[in-house]
């Protein structure tokens, strides 16, 4: 592939968000991560946590892929035995949130200024120390990056982000329980 072709392929890739329900069993995160690695699928972020349903974990996976790759990601996720359901929600009405903790250098002289910025961004102060503040902010990636950029002049000593979690709006997607027992018709198929 020459440079132009590479650029053309790259330009077809867009950011895509998957919600992936999996069985809450040891090693499942490893299976999903290993799948992305060995198929050379890119991961922008991957978040995993519990749901209200016992035995079901929920992953939010953000990836960069073209349309065909996106379909193959979904098909490959379904091949993992512990994966219960995969929904690509990129084009659906949805809420996407990242959570970030940011420790910003702010002594008594800068504190008021930082607090003002927090108000604009709806960030919360969760720890105050003589020379620094710890802020908590949730929102889209852009919002968090915006806050970070205005805080940078004060000096950021630490920051951490969760990666996106996402949910579609409304009720159409998920009224049935995820974990439903699918029994094979017959385990023994005569040879």
């Amino acid at each position: 592939m020459d440079k132009n072709e590479e650029a053309a392929v790259e330009s077809q890739k867009t950011e895509r968000t998957y919600v992936c329900h999996v069985e809450d069993k040891p090693g499942v995160l490893n299976r999903v991560a290993s799948l992305f690695r060995r198929r050379s699928f890119n991961i922008v972020s991957l978040n995993v946590g519990r749901t209200h349903e016992e035995g079901v974990s929920r992953m939010t996976i953000v990836t960069h892929a073209d349309t065909d790759t996106a379909k193959r990601i979904e098909a490959n996720l379904y091949k993992l035995v512990n994966v219960l359901r995969v929904d690509e929600i990129t084009d659906m009405p949805r809420v996407v949130r990242n959570l970030a903790l940011i420790k910003v250098m702010a002594g008594p002289d800068e504190r008021a200024q930082v607090l003002q910025i927090c108000e604009v961004f709806r960030a919360r102060v969760v720890d105050v120390a003589p020379k620094c503040l710890m802020l908590e902010i949730s929102g889209t990636q852009e919002k968090i990056e915006g806050l970070i950029s205005v805080l940078e002049p004060f000096g950021i000593s630490e920051s951490v982000q969760t990666g996106a979690i996402a949910m579609t709006r409304g009720t159409e997607a998920s009224e049935k329980p995820i974990l439903r027992s699918v029994r094979p018709k017959k385990n023994f198929e005569a040879a």
Binding site: R38, N187, E189
Partner: protein, 593 residues
């Protein structure tokens, strides 16, 4: 010591509800999964399981290396119709030695279950003696895997593993069982209908709209070609394919693993496609206006350069695994479902059709292009691999169960041995595992005790697993072994000749005296270096009770033609150089065959 008596009675008393050791639960479960034979090698962490084995009606085949056990389980599964092959090994090195065989089974979708011992659960993660994280190691090369640390976890894991291995697109499953789980006791429970796999969806029903779309493309096509793959064999779709193509008059090309899925001698069978496929087959694919891909996955060895592959053709892809669709080749219609079902449905909707022009065109391609005619050649004193394989084909009347290794001889086998039946050619297609043939043939012997089993292997690959000759002897597993001995790692040498300026680096190979090697194992060894001796040697091998090794000393620097270089356009085939005097090149190409 020779083989144990064959086990004829496979019934066991019903011990459900009783308290058994984990080791006993393992065998109880395997018997209930209809396991008749396991291939294995004992060691520390699997000893409790071995200790319980004599109580159960399962034959154990002791291999000389765990890799051998893995290929035997694979060969057993390939040769039988849907049975799961089982291999058993200890922890650590025992388990890691299975890895090549597991990957081999994965790439060719072979239903297999690999059971490994693991260090006692309190020691996991401590770098204990012979500890390897084998579930971690095999995660990317298995359909699924299990680590079982309690005796009550064994029966559910076995039941799920067999179900996963044999359903949908089949594949290997590893079950790693800690030593303490084998030793401790639990109540044995077994309900064969009860498999809790809420996320597992092995079966897919084709969408009617996709079927309709495919029918439209087939009706409109003037130059269609069927590409028949491993899926034809897996879903027993030979009959359905025959009906479909006879009615529609569509020519058939086979992948390597599809050989035998459609009768080789059927007039509509063009032969093998791809890197070492027939020239006219590749040309026909490039000229086609419709490809109907059945249970194949457009491997790079089949397509060559994707940018120039079958550019004029619309593509229908019938495939059980949705993840294979649009992976390499973008298709117009994908029908996700069982190949046999889909073919049956398509067949019902289509009318008789004859394609005189297209068939004439293919006949013309066949005439112009290479046809190997080795039948009518005078014997000029040289022995060629093609001679050996063609003669073997004639002498066995095309009915042998042939297991190949990997390399030149594998491609020659595919070109010269015409398989009319599925599961009579076993070959490592996807992974290309040298050393596969002998152990896989031993496995196949247990699946098909009545068959005339032939190993065709190169001198290189044969030596990778030659230790299993002793297994043939100890387990009375008779196979006939044709070593195509050219003194080189032939396929690598061929690439060096074509693409690396003829620099034969690390390919000239010295071998032991294979006749003496056979004799040292208590077997029969023969040597053939003239074509006239091929027949008598084959007949002697067939008549001998035990395994026979035949060392065929063939022309050293012969190459497999035609050849599409890796990544090249399918039309850019390297052809056999023009004949300059018959003694130089007796395998000339004519339109006779």
């Amino acid at each position: 010591m020779t083989a144990a008596e064959p086990i004829t009675d496979h019934s066991i008393p019903d011990r459900r509800g009783q308290t058994l050791t984990g080791a006993e639960i393992l065998w109880e479960s395997l018997v209930r999964e209809r396991v008749r034979v396991v291939f294995g090698y004992p060691g520390g962490a699997i000893m409790p399981a071995y200790d319980a084995l004599p109580k159960y009606p399962i034959r154990h085949v002791l291999t000389r290396h765990e890799q051998g056990a893995s290929h035997m389980a694979d060969g057993y599964a390939r040769a039988s119709n849907g049975d799961v092959g089982v291999a058993l090994a200890t922890s650590g090195p025992g388990a890691t030695n299975l890895v090549t065989g597991i990957a081999t089974a994965m790439l060719d979708s072979i239903p297999t279950v690999f059971i490994t011992g693991q260090v006692p659960s309190p020691l996991i993660g401590s770098d204990a003696f012979q500890e390897t994280d084998i579930t971690g190691v095999t995660l990317p090369i298995t359909k699924h895997n299990y680590l079982v640390t309690t005796p009550d976890g064994i029966a559910p894991a076995i039941k799920e593993a067999f179900y996963i291995a044999r359903s949908g697109r089949p594949g290997p499953v590893v079950i790693d069982i800690t030593k303490d789980a084998q030793q401790k006791s639990a109540v044995f429970e077994w309900d064969e209908e009860d498999v809790e796999l809420p996320g597992y969806r092995p079966d897919h029903s084709p969408m009617p709209s996709d079927i309709e779309h495919a029918l439209k493309l087939i009706r409109e096509a003037e130059r269609p070609v069927v590409l028949a793959g491993n899926g034809i064999v897996k879903s027993n779709a030979t009959g359905a394919l025959l009906s479909f193509v006879t009615r529609t008059d569509i020519p058939v090309a086979c992948t390597l693993l599809g050989l035998g899925g459609f009768p080789a001698t059927h007039p509509q069978n063009m032969g093998m496609m791809g890197m070492h496929g027939e020239a006219w087959v590749n040309t026909a694919i490039q000229e086609a206006d419709l490809l109907i891909a059945l249970g194949m996955r457009f491997d790079d060895r089949v397509t060559g350069n994707l940018n120039s592959y079958a550019k004029n053709a619309k593509k229908i892809h019938v495939e059980l695994d949705p993840a294979e669709v649009n992976k390499n080749v973008k298709v117009d219609v994908a029908i996700i479902g069982d190949v046999r079902d889909v073919l049956t449905r398509l067949h019902q909707e289509l009318d008789e059709h004859s394609r005189v022009h297209w068939q004439d065109r293919i006949r013309a391609l066949r005439g112009d292009a290479a046809v190997r005619d080795i039948k009518n050649l005078p014997d000029n004193g040289h022995l060629y691999a093609a001679h050996v394989i063609h003669d073997l084909y004639r002498l066995t009347e095309g009915r042998a169960l042939v297991v190949t290794d990997v390399g030149q001889h594998q491609m020659w086998e595919a070109q010269y041995y015409k398989h009319d039946h599925a599961r009579k050619l076993l070959t490592s297609g996807g992974l290309g595992t040298m050393g596969f043939a002998l152990p896989a043939a031993i496995g196949a012997r247990f699946a098909c005790p009545e068959d005339d089993v032939w190993v065709i292997a190169g001198d290189g690959g044969f030596q990778m697993t030659a230790c299993e000759l002793t297994t043939c002897f100890q387990e009375s597993a008779k196979v006939n072994i044709a070593i195509i001995n050219n003194g080189y790692l032939g396929m690598v040498r061929q690439w060096q000749q074509f693409f690396y300026g003829g620099r034969y680096v690390a390919t000239p190979m010295v071998s032991p005296d294979f006749v003496k090697l056979a004799e040292a194992h208590g077997l029969t060894g023969l040597r053939v270096d003239k074509r006239e001796d091929v027949g008598p040697a084959v007949r002697q091998a067939q008549a001998t009770k035990g395994t026979v090794v035949i060392d065929f000393r063939v022309e050293q620097e012969d190459s497999v033609y035609p050849m599409v270089p890796a990544g090249a356009d399918l039309a850019d085939m390297i052809r056999r150089p023009a004949t300059k005097g018959e003694s130089h090149n007796p395998i000339f190409e004519t339109a006779e065959d």
